[in-house]
Every structure is written in structure tokens, then in C-alpha cells.
């Protein structure tokens, strides 16, 4: 291979080099003159070509935020790096350094370089065309982020495993692939395999794949592909299931009643409660526990359902509110637009009248009239805006009151339900204590018939011990209930506060923006008029 750059010293990608390249590749002729006059910012550059420059390392590209096309072919780059900021890249090429090349986002040409692994492309989500021709790549991976990839050129590399092809199945847009002059392309089955596993591919190694080949390939590899597909489908289904579950849980979380639609809370009460678990082996406690659990779960489910209902209510409330606010703003904007349109119509005609007027005093009079019009428009628009602000404030306050009331009611009701839980727990505790004491008495009297587990028997030493044990279990249970309640209350309160804050903030932002817009417009109109004045005086 003819490689004239080999003889040159490796060079560094520094500012001078980039500036030179940008200047050379920028606009030409008249536009070029202008560009030179003003200077070109790196971030305005859309396409950059840095080929045959003997670059060893990609560097200093972070300023090129809006780059769409990058060509780094025919250098001696060994590693893909420093491309993280080029998120708009559509085309990347870095072929031919010595053995491998790569192309980055949008278009990236990294062909003819010395790249060994594909890496550093994770941020280039817009990349459509990647060329890594003539590099030293042996494995296709780390391309997961490039969902829009359409053209991939990996010819003349060291890819030797057919399984790399399966990796390419995830790129739904991939239509053109080049893998010639790789070890795998020597394989007998190479073409058929690719056609079978990448059925959407249109071009392989610069040639169109005809339908006949596709059919043949499909027939040949049908069995394994079907299996692959089945697996993929299974995976997909599983993913979807998980997704659905997550969504469900998320929904419950927004209602602040997650995990209350079952025995989760009850189970968690006993999860860390060894005494309680031990005590459940006491005669009669099993049944007691059973009924206790049933009742407890019923209350939990009540809370859960109530929570969902309340969530629904809050949501409709919020929706109504947002809709009304949106309508109000829309209506207000329409009014403003109408006012402006009316003004502009008048303003234009008076401007042209001024231009045609010859008498200076008349001109002055007309200009005065015009500025009066402008300030009138300003007043009108500002009045509109003030009106809207007042109206919205009132509405927002009303909404705030309502939503706070709603949240308050919800908390109250949940608390009363939780109190029922506590009552149940207390009741259970009393019963358990009774049984424990009677059991203790029996043990002391020695007429206990049943065998008790050793752990349990250890508790029945004396009355204090057993009472303490039962008490500890009771405390843990109460703590769990309290925690759950606290969590719910805190979360809903913070949600409420955040929501209201956000609404207020949004409204303030909106107001600021509108006022700024009006001012800007009025300033523009006024300055236009002033310019006219100056122009006339000059004339």
C-alpha cells in the first residue's frame, strides 16, 4: 500500500491545525471574505475533514458541538476518543490509518487508521454512517447507542467470528454493511449467513442483495434463525412484563400507597421480629395470627383502594386546572395577537405615509402620533397581561386551597385507617399476652402437653421475660405501622408543596417572558421609528 504519510512525523490535533482546516473548508468567495472578516466559531462548523494529516490522537474537538460530518481517514489514530461532545454527528469516518478505521455520529469517517477496538461512541446517538474501514478491529461491539445507524463500513479489519453478525441484529435501520477483507469474509457461508441473520440489509460489500439470495439464505438458516427469533421474542416479552410491572408500581407510588394491596406491610412487621415468629408457635396463636392477618390485610387494601381513588381525584383536579389555565392563556394570547395585528396594519400605513411626507412639521407630527400609537399598544398589551396575571393568581390560589384540602383529607382518612391497624395490633398483643401468660402458668405447673421449639421454650423462663418478649414484638409492629404512615404523609406533603411551587414558578416565568417579549417588541418598534426619524433628518 502506498502510504506517503508514513514517512511524516505524527502530528497533534491542535487549535492551529483545526483553524486552518476550518478556514480552508469554510465558505468561499464573497461569503469567505465575510467569514474571514468575522471569524468562524468552531461550534458553527457542520462538517470537518482532517484526512492525511498523520494525526495520532483525536483531541481538541470538544468545541465542535454542531458538527454533522467528521472525516478522520488516513491518519494513524489508534483509539477512538474525544468524540463525546459531538452528539449531532451523523457521519463519521476514520478509515485507513494503518489497519482500521472508524466513523462517528452522523457521519464519521475513521477509515484507514490504526484503531483496534470500537469505543467512545456512546454519546453519538444520531450517528447514521460509520466508516471504520481498514483498521485493526477484531470485534464488533460498543455500538449499542447508535440506534440510527444505517451504514456501517468495517471492511479490511480483523473480524473473525461470525457471531459478530448477530450483534448487528439490533440495528433496525442498518441497510448497508461492508465486511469484505475480514477473516470471516473468507468463510464459505459468509454471504448466506449475513443475509439470513440480517434480513433487512440491502447492500453487502457494495453490492445489492437480490431477493433470490435472501430467500435461499433464509431457507438455509431457517432453523437456527427461528430459534434465535424465539429467544428474542421471549426476551422481549419478559422485558415488556417487567416494564408493565414497573409501571404498575410507579402508578401505586404516585398514589403513595405502594405495597398496600396485600400482606406486604404485615409480612414486613414479622420479618425482623424473631420473638413474634417464635411466639406464633404457641398453641392457639396460629389461628389468632391468621384472623389478625386477614383483618389487617383488609384494612391495608382499604387504604390502597382509597389511595388510588384519591389519586384519581387529584389527577382530574390537576388536569382541569391545567386545562383552564391553558385556555385562559390561549385566549389572552389571541387577544394580544389581534391587537398587534391591528396595530401593525395601521403602523405600516403610517410609516409609509411618513416616508412620502415632505413637510418637516408634518413629519414630526406624524412621528409623534406613531409613537403615541406604540405606547398605546404597550399599555394595551400590558393591561392584558396584568389582567391575566390577576386572574391566574386567583385561580391558582383556589387550586392551591383545594389541593391542600384534598391532601389533608386523604392524610386524615389514612391516619384513621392506620389507627385501626394499631387497634388490631393492640388487640392482638393483648390476646397474645394472655395466651403467653397462661402458657407460662401451664409450663410452671408442668401440664403443658405440646412440645415447644427450643427458642420459644427459652422465653418462658419467668413472667418478665415473656412479657418483655411479647412487648418487644408489639413495639416492632407498631414501629413498622408508624413508619409506613409517616412515609406516606411525608411524601404526599412534599409532593403537594412541590406541585404548588412549580405552578407558582411557572406562572412567574410565563409572566416574565411575556413582559420581556412585549418590551422587546415595543423597543423594536420604537427604534424603527427613531431610525426613520434619523434617516429623514439626514435626508
Amino acid at each position: 500500500m502506498n502510504q506517503p504519510c508514513n514517512s511524516m512525523e505524527p502530528r497533534v490535533m491542535d487549535d492551529d491545525m483545526l483553524k486552518l482546516a476550518v478556514g480552508d473548508q469554510g465558505p468561499q468567495e464573497e461569503a469567505g471574505q465575510l467569514a474571514k472578516q468575522e471569524g468562524i466559531l468552531f461550534k458553527d462548523v457542520l462538517s470537518l475533514q482532517l484526512d492525511f494529516r498523520n494525526i495520532l490522537r483525536i483531541d481538541n474537538l470538544w468545541q465542535f458541538e454542531n458538527l454533522r460530518k467528521l472525516q478522520l481517514d488516513n491518519n494513524i489514530i489508534e483509539k477512538i476518543e474525544g468524540l463525546e461532545n459531538l452528539a449531532h454527528l451523523v457521519w463519521l469516518g476514520s478509515s485507513d490509518s494503518h489497519a482500521s478505521a472508524s466513523q462517528v455520529a452522523g457521519i464519521t469517517d475513521l477509515s484507514f487508521n490504526n484503531i483496534e477496538t470500537i469505543e467512545g461512541l456512546d454519546t453519538l446517538v444520531n450517528l447514521e454512517d460509520l466508516s471504520l474501514f481498514n483498521n485493526r478491529i477484531s470485534k464488533i461491539d460498543s455500538l449499542d447507542a447508535l440506534v440510527k445507524l444505517q451504514v456501517l463500513s468495517l471492511g479490511n479489519n480483523r473480524i473473525d467470528n461470525m457471531m459478530n453478525i448477530i450483534y448487528l441484529r439490533r440495528f433496525k435501520c442498518l441497510r448497508t454493511l461492508s465486511l469484505s477483507r475480514n477473516p470471516i469474509s473468507e468463510a464459505e457461508d459468509y454471504k448466506m449467513f449475513i443475509c439470513a441473520y440480517l434480513p433487512d440489509l440491502m447492500y453487502l460489500d457494495y453490492r445489492r442483495i437480490d431477493d433470490h439470495t435472501k430467500k435461499l439464505a433464509e431457507a438455509k438458516h431457517q432453523y437456527s434463525i427461528d430459534e434465535l427469533k424465539h429467544q428474542e421474542n421471549l426476551m422481549q416479552a419478559q422485558l415488556e412484563d417487567e416494564q408493565a410491572q414497573r409501571e404498575e408500581l410507579e402508578k401505586h407510588k404516585t398514589a403513595f400507597v405502594e405495597h398496600l394491596n396485600g400482606s406486604f406491610l404485615f409480612d414486613s412487621m414479622y420479618a425482623e421480629d424473631s420473638e413474634g415468629n417464635n411466639l406464633s408457635y404457641l398453641p392457639g396463636v396460629g389461628e389468632l395470627l391468621e384472623t389478625y392477618k386477614d383483618k389487617f390485610v383488609i384494612i391495608c387494601v382499604n387504604i390502597f383502594e382509597y389511595g388510588l381513588k384519591q389519586q384519581e381525584k387529584r389527577k382530574t383536579e390537576l388536569d382541569t386546572f391545567s386545562e383552564c389555565v391553558r385556555e385562559a392563556i390561549q385566549e389572552n394570547q389571541e387577544q394580544g395577537k389581534r391587537k398587534i395585528a391591528k396595530f401593525e396594519e395601521k403602523h405600516l400605513s403610517s410609516l409609509s405615509a411618513i416616508r412620502e411626507e415632505l413637510e418637516l412639521p408634518n413629519i414630526e407630527k406624524m412621528i409623534l402620533e406613531c409613537s403615541a400609537d406604540i405606547s398605546e399598544l404597550f399599555d394595551a398589551l400590558m393591561t392584558l397581561e396584568m389582567q391575566l396575571v390577576e386572574q391566574l393568581e386567583e385561580t391558582i390560589n383556589m387550586f392551591e386551597r383545594n389541593i391542600v384540602d384534598m391532601v389533608g383529607l386523604f392524610i386524615e382518612n389514612v391516619q384513621s385507617l392506620m389507627a385501626q391497624c394499631r387497634d388490631l395490633e393492640n388487640h392482638h398483643h393483648e390476646k397474645l399476652l394472655e395466651i403467653s401468660i397462661s402458657t407460662l402458668e401451664k409450663i410452671v405447673e408442668g401440664d403443658l402437653d405440646e412440645d415447644l421449639p427450643n427458642d420459644l421454650r427459652a422465653l418462658f423462663v419467668d413472667k418478665d421475660t415473656i412479657v418483655n418478649a411479647v412487648g418487644a414484638s408489639h413495639d416492632i409492629h407498631l414501629l413498622k405501622i408508624d413508619n409506613r404512615e409517616d412515609e406516606l404523609v411525608t411524601r404526599i406533603n412534599s409532593w403537594c408543596t412541590r406541585l404548588i411551587d412549580r405552578i407558582h414558578k411557572d406562572e412567574i416565568m410565563r409572566n416574565r417572558k411575556r413582559v420581556k417579549e412585549i418590551n422587546q417588541y415595543i423597543d423594536h418598534m420604537q427604534s424603527e421609528l427613531d431610525n426613520l426619524e434619523c434617516g429623514d433628518i439626514l435626508d
Binding site: 465558505p27 464573497e30 461569503a31 471574505q33 465575510l34 467569514a35 472578516q37 468575522e38 468562524i40 458553527d44 383536579e317 382541569t320 386546572f321 386545562e323 383552564c324 389555565v325 385556555e327 385562559a328 392563556i329 394570547q333 394580544g336 395577537k337 398587534i340 398589551l381 389582567q387 391575566l388 390577576e390 386572574q391 391566574l392 386567583e394 385561580t395 383556589m398 387550586f399 410565563r510 417572558k513 411575556r514 417579549e517 412585549i518 422587546q520 417588541y521 423594536h524 424603527e528
Partner: protein, 831 residues
């Protein structure tokens, strides 16, 4: 009455003058009135009043100096048919009957005025009034109902007062004459209206009676102006949308309620005063307008139409005043009395007292006590209530029977002498013409020509080669007012409509990938070119192009141009961008192209003042001269394209006009592919098919041609052939065939020889006369030679071919004969 009649003579003159004055005054009044409408319960709003004033001022009232006269002198009677000029014997008889009836009547009721029975017609021939009625059903559906008929009569005819307001006229003209001259008195009016109503099935009668002054003079000053009667407004039910919970409250009303109340009070006071003033005014007017007591009240003769209930679902008897076309109840106080009434079948005299106008009259014409009929045997049934009167019929003294005993009771009214009444639309102005088409190849469906504006509008069905939908124009010349609508889905460029005026062209688009929705170009006056050669391509200079675009959702609003204006002459380009959803202002940009040279003589490429922009959200990159320069260059290119587009559009219009003209000239028809008679292609195809079938058939016939038939015919039919017969048959057949082949060969040979001889002869002749031949003759000879050579060659070929084929054919026949089942004996021999 007697006393009054004496007065009549003296008062008549005065009366006529008065009437004229009245009419005059009434008209004046009518014009002055709009501001002070009386009798108006509906309070009129200001704008309705203004509207009304306008409407009324549009009404032009020409006050003719003299009252329109309608006398027989003005009527051309020369062209009238014979029935107008003479009476048939039956009519004569009828007149005698009528005279007799009249004599008896005047004898019995000496204090009543003579009957109006047979006035003279326009030809001075007495005609009985019933025969003057000519029941006619008009061919116009609009004239089927009584109200439209009455309105027509009142609108179409001009009213002429009676020559003597106290007597029925001496003449009664036929309705045809009345219609022709569009004038008539009340009798003419009611005769025409009655004819029409009877024709359309009403039970209508002409009435000779007495009317009020207003009625007789068609004085409507005391009527409510019809224009002030508002049509009932349909009350729209506004569906009140329930206000949502968080709907914003309307801005606070900052007006003082106290002030408002005071204002309302003040307004009320003013209104009350106004009302009072109006009322006083009204009263004053009422006073002034109140009909002066008419000295001739109750004596003024009038004629109107009575419609009885029963037919055509008329629920109640009513009168129609033919002058105005209004209907009145039979109780109306304008109608003061009835002398007699008639329809086309009979004549009735009112025997009831009219002291209380017509209010007490009972219109039961079958009741002979109240209504004396002239002819018996009409379809009016006798009242069942008056059963006892039947006995009275025979009473000689009774009025009902006067003069009837000796008459033929079944005498019926002769047919009307009047010609068919026709209302022709002749003389009306054609306002518009609509022509419907079908099966046209240019898909023209409807052509609408408005005669007043001269605007022609063509409507097309889908499928025109230029996708035309509607084409409206005044002239087929280009660059004139014109609107062309297209089926935009059939066009590549999505053009919906193109409007043209001499100086502008506006196009509307839809569904374009570049979101263009509107393009407006205005042209300047054409510049005269010195070079006359390029006369066809001298487009008008474009002054301004305005283009509007729909919102392109793929672009952010501040980069999506909503409107761009190319001011070509000023080298100015204005851009207006779309408004962002949460904004009320839109960005604007204006480019001014000034190719100037700075102080040092360098060309200025771009300066900041060449681009004035207003940005709602200022952006950094747009501030750059480079950006602006590129944008301007881009717009320059776009401008060029737009100008080209406009130019192309103009060309297209020319093309369309040319095509339309051609189509109009050719007007070819489309022919359905199922129309096998007219569709050329399918006809050809069908004919080809038929030809093929025919050939196929011929071939079949040939194959079925029985070569044995002539020989078999010699033998007795139905018998089986013997072996000997079969052999003989075969031989005969073969020898016959051989003979045929030889004959054919001979024939060809003979023709060949003949041709050759002729050629030789000709050649000989040529060689002899070669020197004297003209070039034409020589040409003739040469062409003859070549043709003759051709014929000879062909004959030669045919002969050779025949020689070749003859033995084969012979063998083939022999083979066939062997296999023929009828000659089965043969096979046995050879088998």
C-alpha cells in the same frame, strides 16, 4: 240610494279630481313615511329603520301626469280571432236569456241597480260575463296557489280607475287583451285572477259590489308598511357550556354602578320623552290621515274575487282584492256590499241586505232565497235546509222562479269566447343562463352565464386534462379577470385556485411538501420593447410577489417562514416568521439589497443595515453577517424561482385558455367502453373479433365441405354403397379433382401467355414509335411495362406452385377418400 244617485252627477267631476289628489297625496305620504311608521307595535331598531329607509328610497315612484287611460281606441282589434267579434248562436241565446232575466229582475226589484250581465268587449260585442272567464291553469308551478296568483296579477297589471266610479264599466275586455296591454280596471283584474284561480282548482267567483274609497283607489296609505314587518327571528338556543371549575373569572368591571344606574335612568327618561313625542306625533298623523268621511261611501263600484271554502283545502271563505293581491276576511269593513257574483258557469244575484257591509252575508250559493241564480242545473247543490222552499219553487210569484219555467232547464254556459290565456316570459330580461352537459370529453358539466355581469362560469367534473374544477371569466383573453379552480389532488403542485385580475395573480395551494399556501404576484405595466421581434415573449414586469406558508411542524417557529414578500422593484425582501405557540409576536426580517461601492471603491458585500431583523428570542448565530449573507443569497435564489413560477403560471393560463378554446371548438364526446356502437376502439376490436370468427367459420365450413356430395347425389339416397359403387365413386371423384387441377393450371397458363403476348405487342409498338413519343407517353409505357412484368412474374410463380402442389393435393384427397367412412367398402377391399 235614490237620493244619492241624484247627487252623483254633480259630484262625479269633483270626485274624480279628489281621487287624483288623493292618489297623489298618498304617494307623497308613502315616500315621507318611513321615519314615522304608525300602527307599529314592534319597536323598530335604529338600523332596521335605516335599512328600511334605504329600501324605500330605492323604490322609484313615477307619478304620471295623467291617469293611465285604457280605452278601446288604444286596442288593436284587427288581429283578434273571430270569437271576439261575433257571437255564436248559443251565446246569442244566452244573451236573450240574460236579457229576459234582467227584465224580470228589474220588474221585481225596481229599486236596485241594473245587473252587470253582458258588457261589451273590445270589439263592441256584448258578451255574457261568465263567458269572459276563461279558467286556465298556468304552466308555472309558482302560479299554482292563490296568493302567488293574486300577487302576480297585482304586480303585472297597472290599475286604471273605473271611468265612472259609481257604475260598473260599459266594457269588459278579455283577459288576453288585458294581459297584452298590462292595464285594467278592477273588473279586468278580478276577471283575470278569477280565471286563474278557477283554473288551478279554487272555487272562485268574480264579485260586482261596492268597496271603500281606499279599496277602489288602491290606496294603501293606511296599511302597515310590509317592509316594517320583521320576519320572526329564530331564537337560537345557546348551549351554555358549564364553566369548568377553574375557569378564570372575567376581568373586574371597574365602572361605577351608581353612574350606570344614573345613566340608565337618564336613558329611560329620554326614551319616555321620545315615546311621548312619537305618540303625540302619531296621534296627530292619525288624525290627519283618518279617512275623510267619504260622500260616496257605499256607492263606489268595485270588483273583487271571492274564494269559497271546500276546494283546494281552503278552510274558510275569503275575499281577494285583485289590485293589491291581499286577502281579506268576508267580514272586512272595506267591502261594503255585493250586487252579484259569477263564475264561468253561472251568475248569482245577492238577495241579502247589505246594510252592515258584507258582514252578515252568507255565501251559500245553493240557497235560492239568498242568492238568485240565473241558470239552473249548475253544480251548486241545493241546501238541504231549504227543503220546504222546494215547494216554493213552483210558486209563480216567487222570485226564484222568475222567467224560468219556459226555459230549458238544462241550459249550460257556452264555452268561453276568450282565447287561451298565456303569460309568456317574453319581454323579460334574461338574467342568467345555465347549460348542463354530459359525456363531454373535456368534462364540462355546467355552464353558467350571468347576463347582467357577463360573467361566465364553467364547472367541470374530475378528469379534465388540466384538472379544472371551475373556470369563471368574462373574456377568454389572457390577463383579464378570471378565477380558475382546480382539483388540487389531481395536480402535482397542489394548486387549488388561481385568481387573476389585469394586474395581479393570486394562487392558493394545499398539501405541498414546502407548505406553500398562497402566492400573490402583482404586475407593473408592460414595458415597450424596442425589438419588435420578441412580441410573444414580453412578460409583464413583476412588481411584488407575496408568498405565505403553512406551519412546518418539523421546524421551530422562529425559523419557519410564514410569509415572504419579494419587492422586486425595490430589491427588498421581507420575511415574517410563524408565531411560537406561547408567544404573541412573530420574528421579522427584512433584507435590502444595495450593491454599492464603499469609499475605497471596494464592493460592499454585506453590511449590518442590509438586514433589519426583529427576533422574538434573540439568537446569536443570526447576528452574523455570514449567516445573513447566506440567507440573503438563498432568498435571491428563491426569488428567482418564484418569479419563474409566476411566469410558468402565466404560461399555464395561456395553455389552459388555448386548450379550452380547442375543446369548445371540437366538443368531442366521451364514449363509454361499454358503448360498443360508438366506441371506436371497441368497435374495431369487436369487428376484428367478428372477422376472425367469420374466418374461423369459413374454415370450418371448408373442412366440412363434402367432396363426395355431388357424386353421392347421383345414387339413390339412404342405401348402403356396394363395393363396386364405392370404387366407382372414388374414381369419379379423383378424376374430377384431377380435371379441376388441370383446368386451373391451364387457366393460369392461358393468362400467362396472354400477358406475355400483350407485353410483346407493346414492346414492339414502342420500338416502332420510339422517336415520336412524348415524355408522358414514354412514362406511361414504362410504368405499364413494369406492372406487366410484375403480373407475369406472379403468374409464373403461381403456375410453378400449382405444379408443385397439385400431385400432393391429389394424393391427399385419395388418402382422405380411403378413410372416408361412407366408402367403408373400399377399405374392406384393400384390407
Amino acid at each position: 240610494m235614490e237620493v244619492l244617485r241624484e247627487k252623483v252627477e254633480e259630484e262625479e267631476e269633483a270626485e274624480r279630481e279628489e281621487a287624483a289628489e288623493w292618489a297623489e297625496w298618498a304617494r307623497m305620504e308613502k315616500m315621507m313615511r318611513p321615519v314615522e311608521v304608525r300602527k307599529e307595535e314592534i319597536t323598530l331598531k335604529q338600523e332596521t329603520l335605516r335599512d328600511l329607509e334605504k329600501k324605500l328610497s330605492e323604490i322609484q315612484i313615477t307619478v304620471s301626469a295623467e291617469l293611465p287611460a285604457f280605452t278601446k281606441d288604444t286596442i288593436d282589434i284587427s288581429k283578434l280571432p273571430i270569437s271576439y267579434k261575433t257571437n255564436t248562436p248559443k251565446e246569442e241565446h244566452l244573451l236573450q236569456v240574460a236579457d229576459n232575466f234582467s227584465r224580470q229582475y228589474s220588474h221585481l226589484c225596481p229599486d236596485r241597480v241594473p245587473l252587470f250581465l253582458h258588457p261589451l268587449n273590445e270589439c263592441e260585442v256584448p258578451k255574457f260575463v261568465s263567458t269572459t272567464l276563461r279558467p286556465t291553469l298556468m304552466p308555472y308551478p309558482e302560479l299554482y296557489n292563490w296568493d302567488s296568483c293574486a300577487q302576480f296579477v297585482s304586480d303585472f297589471l297597472t290599475m286604471v280607475p273605473l271611468p265612472d266610479p259609481l257604475k260598473p264599466p260599459s266594457h269588459l275586455y278579455s283577459s288576453t287583451t288585458v294581459l297584452k296591454y298590462q292595464k285594467g280596471n278592477c273588473f279586468d283584474f278580478s276577471t283575470l285572477l278569477c280565471s286563474m284561480l278557477i283554473g288551478s282548482g279554487y272555487d272562485a267567483y268574480c264579485v260586482n259590489g261596492y268597496g271603500s274609497l281606499d279599496l277602489c283607489h288602491m290606496d294603501l296609505t293606511r296599511e302597515v308598511c310590509p317592509l316594517t314587518v320583521k320576519p320572526k327571528e329564530t331564537i337560537k338556543k345557546e348551549e351554555k357550556v358549564l364553566p369548568k371549575k377553574y375557569t378564570i373569572k372575567p376581568p373586574r368591571d371597574l365602572c361605577s354602578r351608581f353612574e350606570q344606574e344614573q345613566e340608565v335612568k337618564k336613558q329611560q327618561e329620554i326614551r319616555a320623552q321620545e315615546k311621548k313625542r312619537l305618540r303625540e306625533e302619531e296621534e296627530r298623523l292619525m288624525e290627519a290621515e283618518k279617512a275623510k268621511p267619504d260622500a260616496l261611501h257605499g256607492l263606489r263600484v268595485h270588483s273583487w274575487v271571492l274564494v269559497l271554502s271546500g276546494k283546494r283545502e281552503v278552510p274558510e271563505n275569503f275575499f281577494i282584492d285583485p289590485f293589491t293581491g291581499h286577502s281579506y276576511s268576508t267580514q272586512d269593513e272595506h267591502f261594503l256590499g255585493i250586487e252579484s257574483l259569477w263564475n264561468h258557469k253561472n251568475y248569482w244575484i245577492n238577495m241579502q241586505d247589505c246594510w252592515n257591509c258584507c258582514k252578515d252575508l252568507i255565501f251559500d250559493l245553493g240557497d235560492p232565497v239568498r242568492w238568485e241564480y240565473m241558470l239552473l242545473g249548475t253544480d251548486k247543490s241545493q241546501l238541504s235546509l231549504t227543503e220546504e222552499d222546494d215547494s216554493g219553487i213552483n210558486d209563480e210569484d216567487d222570485v226564484e222562479n222568475l222567467g224560468k219555467e219556459d226555459e230549458d232547464k238544462s241550459f249550460d254556459m257556452p264555452h268561453s269566447w276568450v282565447e287561451q290565456i298565456e303569460i309568456s316570459p317574453e319581454g323579460t330580461n334574461i338574467l342568467e343562463i345555465k347549460e348542463w352537459y354530459q359525456n363531454r370529453e373535456d368534462m364540462l358539466e355546467l355552464k353558467h352565464i350571468n347576463k347582467t355581469t357577463d360573467l361566465k362560469t364553467d364547472y367541470f367534473k374530475p378528469g379534465h386534462p388540466q384538472a379544472l374544477r371551475v373556470h369563471s371569466y368574462k373574456s377568454m383573453q389572457p390577463e383579464m379577470d378570471r378565477v380558475i379552480e382546480f382539483y388540487e389532488t389531481a395536480r402535482v403542485d397542489g394548486l387549488m385556485k388561481r385568481e387573476e385580475t389585469p394586474r395581479t395573480m393570486t394562487e392558493y395551494y394545499q398539501g405541498r411538501p414546502d407548505f406553500l399556501s398562497y402566492r400573490h404576484a402583482s404586475f407593473g405595466p408592460r414595458v415597450k420593447k424596442l425589438t419588435l421581434s420578441s412580441a410573444e415573449s414580453n412578460p409583464r414586469p413583476i412588481v411584488k410577489i407575496t408568498e405565505r406558508f403553512f406551519r412546518n411542524p418539523a421546524k421551530p417557529a422562529e425559523e419557519d417562514v410564514a410569509e415572504r414578500v419579494f419587492l422586486v422593484a425595490e430589491e427588498r425582501i421581507q420575511l415574517r416568521y410563524h408565531c411560537r405557540e406561547d408567544h404573541i409576536t412573530a420574528s421579522k426580517r427584512e433584507f435590502l439589497r444595495r450593491t454599492e461601492v464603499d469609499s475605497k471603491g471596494n464592493k460592499i458585500i454585506m453590511t449590518p443595515d442590509m438586514c433589519i431583523s426583529f427576533e422574538v428570542e434573540p439568537m446569536e448565530h443570526t447576528k452574523k453577517l455570514l449567516y445573513q449573507y447566506e440567507a440573503m443569497m438563498h432568498l435571491k435564489r428563491e426569488e428567482k424561482l418564484s418569479r419563474h413560477q409566476v411566469w410558468e403560471s402565466e404560461l399555464e393560463v395561456l395553455e389552459i385558455l388555448k386548450l379550452r378554446e380547442e375543446e369548445e371548438a371540437a366538443h368531442t364526446l366521451t364514449i363509454s367502453i361499454y358503448d360498443t356502437k360508438r366506441n371506436e376502439k371497441s368497435k374495431e376490436y369487436r369487428e376484428a373479433m367478428e372477422r376472425m370468427m367469420h374466418e374461423e367459420h369459413l374454415r370450418q365450413v371448408e373442412t366440412q365441405l363434402d367432396y363426395l356430395a355431388p357424386f353421392l347425389a347421383q345414387l339413390p339416397p339412404g342405401e348402403k354403397l356396394t363395393c363396386w359403387q364405392a370404387v366407382r365413386l372414388k374414381d369419379e371423384c379423383l378424376s374430377d379433382f384431377k380435371q379441376r387441377l388441370i383446368n386451373k393450371a391451364n387457366l393460369i397458363q392461358a393468362r400467362f401467355e396472354k400477358e406475355t403476348q400483350e407485353l410483346q405487342k407493346k414492346q414492339q409498338w414502342y420500338q416502332e414509335n420510339q422517336v415520336t413519343l412524348t415524355p408522358e407517353d414514354e412514362d406511361l409505357y414504362l410504368s405499364y411495362c413494369s406492372q406487366a412484368m410484375f403480373r407475369i412474374r406472379i403468374l409464373e410463380q403461381r403456375l410453378n406452385r400449382h405444379k408443385e402442389l397439385a400431385p400432393l393435393k391429389y394424393l391427399a384427397l385419395e388418402e382422405k377418400l380411403y378413410k372416408d367412412p361412407r366408402l367403408g367398402e373400399l377399405q374392406k377391399i384393400f384390407a
